[in-house]
Amino acid sequence: MKLHGELRQFILDNYLLTRDDSSLGDSDSLTGRGILDSTGALELVMHLEERYGIKVLDDELHPDNLDSVEKIAAFVERKRA
């Protein structure tokens, strides 16, 4: 759950510019809510690569991996396993 919290905080701080934890649910669709566009996705990838030491491959730039806090956390855990 620490990873979920970190990722949610990153999105709250950098995309929603808020400290209100209730404004983002872990399963909320980031593209569906208009939070993540293609530039935002690149920013997220850069953060994941720098913070968690993973390399995101071209084929992994997919909504299944990046479209919610839950999906990002699961993706990072898979990559680190």
């Binding site: 566009d37 996705a41 690149l42 071209d58 084929d59 730039l61 997919h62 909504p63």
Partner: protein, 328 residues
């Protein structure tokens, strides 16, 4: 009912008459200007706009600008000159390379390219291309570079380099627009913006660059309709059939490669179909592709609309100024 390509058919005579009437009325009554400035790139969109402006106001009230730089194609400028001659309008040609050099356009861009491709340097040519959307992935940009000896490289761009390359390259559109407004101001003319519907809808323009204008006479027309109009208006052959290129990067590049992901005719039909609530299955049938790919096309169009929505916004005010709110 099957989706037909005929939805894109246009009566060019009626449409040209309608646009010309709109141009005359807008320039005189709404903009209160005496003529129009059109930057002529050598492509069909600006060619059609210039020809319509001449038809609407007469050649003596239209100024054509030809604004090449060291990476734009020499054939583009040549085609632009041929159109100026055919239309019989006054024109000004200015190479904007020194301005771009002074602003650091090439330097900023090349430094960003070198960070992702350390061997890049003099003699190399480059472009960027969008990838991912039609495969259902998230759109991202790739850098394609070619050395003088033909050695070619392709890498995915990270956030910082992507943003810096685009920001530096956008100097080109913004410098051109600065010159268009200089000439418009000195003549008391208005500036014509030349986007077609694909570019306008999908946000394929630079804010305060080619996106800035006083009037955009063909922004409602699909690209294939612009070609229809170009043929009707009798544009020189090289312009009437010019394929949509960006003419922005040092390697040759089609607009579909940089941004749209589909050739323009298919893109026209997809945009029409999505805007008219046509199910993805019918689009797939018309394009001869799979329903999954058609769904990805729709998703990609929506994603680009969403990502570029802010380009269409005027500056936001945080308090009402009702006295000027009604100005369109």
């Amino acid at each position: 009912m099957a989706l037909s390509w005929s939805v894109l058919e246009l009566d060019p005579q009626a449409e040209a008459d309608r646009i010309c009437e709109g141009l005359r009325d807008s320039v005189a009554r709404l903009l209160r200007k005496r003529g129009l400035v059109v930057a002529i790139s050598g492509g069909v969109d600006s060619g059609v706009c210039a020809a319509l402006a001449v038809r609407a106001l007469g050649p003596e009230r239209v100024l054509g600008l030809i604004l090449p730089e060291r990476e734009s194609s020499a054939q583009s400028a040549e085609r632009a000159r041929s159109l100026v001659a055919q239309l019989g309008i006054e024109s000004v040609e200015q190479d904007i390379t020194p301005v771009l050099e002074a602003l650091g356009c090439y330097r900023w861009r090349d430094e960003a390219v070198k960070r992702v491709l350390p061997g890049y340097g003099p003699g190399w040519r480059m472009k960027i291309a969008l990838a991912g959307g039609l495969e259902g992935r998230i759109n991202h940009f790739r850098l394609i570079a070619q050395a003088a000896d033909g050695d070619s490289r392709e890498v995915r761009l990270g956030l910082r380099e992507y943003l810096e390359i685009v920001a530096a390259t956008s100097f080109k559109q913004r410098v051109r627009k600065t010159l268009e407004y200089f000439h418009a101001d000195r003549l008391n003319y208005a500036v014509v913006g030349t986007p077609n519907r694909l570019e306008y809808d999908q946000g394929f323009f630079v804010k305060n660059g080619d996106g800035a204008a006083d009037i955009k006479p063909i922004a409602h027309l699909y690209k294939s309709q612009v070609y229809t109009l170009g043929a009707h208006l009798g544009l020189p052959a090289g312009i009437a059939t010019a394929l949509p290129t960006t003419d922005t990067y040092s390697l040759p590049q089609g607009q579909d490669e940089l941004y749209f992901a589909l050739p323009f005719r298919e893109m026209d039909l997809a945009l029409w179909a999505l805007s008219h609530g046509i199910p993805a299955g019918q689009l797939a049938e018309a394009l001869g592709t799979t329903e999954e790919r058609a769904r990805n096309i729709y998703r990609d169009i929506r994603a680009k609309r969403n990502a570029t929505e802010y380009l269409h916004r005027r500056a936001l005010l945080l308090g009402a100024v009702r006295e000027v709110e009604s100005v369109g």
